[in-house]
């Protein structure tokens, strides 16, 4: 539960940062936008590392994919979500690439990438509630 709360706050922080990135890019403040894009990636990495540590802890406690139906759903949903987080890093790489050169800087592309990252965030909000809180 506690690690799930930590995961959620890290991902919410990343969503806040990418929203700031979009706002900064729209205002032409590209240094700030770049900073917020890197902050988003950092929070995403914190989420990913804590998720891997959580999996290791569960497996060490004997809770694996085949233990019971709950852990089957848990590992299936959290790993599918993590794959989308990994895709999100590529998407955030596109944001950094776009912001790094004045020749590119497509606001539409930055906002599309941010929308993807927010989607990863709100899906986690639902997964967290369903797997860590509901009983």
């Amino acid at each position: 539960m506690r690690i799930g709360v930590f995961n959620t706050i890290a991902l919410l922080l990343s969503s806040w940062a990418i929203a700031r990135c979009v706002q900064a890019a729209r205002a032409g403040a590209y240094r700030s936008a770049m900073f917020n894009a890197y902050l988003t990636i950092s929070c995403g990495l914190v989420f990913l590392v804590s998720k891997i540590l959580e999996w290791i802890k569960e497996i060490q406690m004997g809770n694996t994919f085949t233990s019971n139906e709950f852990f089957q759903h848990y590992f299936f949903l959290t790993s599918i979500h993590c794959i989308h987080v990994l895709i999100g890093f590529i998407v955030l790489g596109v944001v950094v690439y776009q912001l790094s050169s004045p020749a590119r800087r497509s606001q539409q592309l930055v906002e599309t990438c941010a929308t993807y990252w927010h989607t990863v965030d709100f899906l986690w909000v639902l997964i967290f509630a369903l797997h860590y809180v509901v009983r």
Partner: protein
């Protein structure tokens, strides 16, 4: 303008984080001595809080509140649909299980 907007984003993040911390409080209130107990109140609260958080993310972080009315209605419809599916599954499942 930019500062006002960023302050708004910070407030939104603080609200979302506070709503996440409500889960910890719910967990503490319902469970005793680390024993997880079934609870309709916790289940329904968890789902409702999650759906409110999703709507806030749609409206504020994804800027849907500035989008055309159709997109606002579509995202709200999605939230309602997911809510009906989740709560419906829970209550129907509980009734079938007796």
């Amino acid at each position: 303008m930019s500062t006002t907007f960023n302050k708004r984003l910070l407030v939104v993040w603080a609200i979302l984080t506070s709503m996440t911390l409500v889960y910890v409080w719910l967990d503490e209130v319902i469970d005793h001595n680390g024993t997880v107990r079934a609870s309709t109140v916790v289940t329904v609260s968890a789902i409702v809080i999650a759906l409110i958080k999703v709507r806030i993310i749609f409206r504020e972080f994804m800027e849907v509140r500035h989008a055309p009315a159709l997109l606002c209605r579509l995202t709200d419809g999605w939230v309602v649909l997911i809510g009906v599916c989740l709560l419906g599954s829970y209550f129907v499942g509980s009734a079938v299980a007796g």
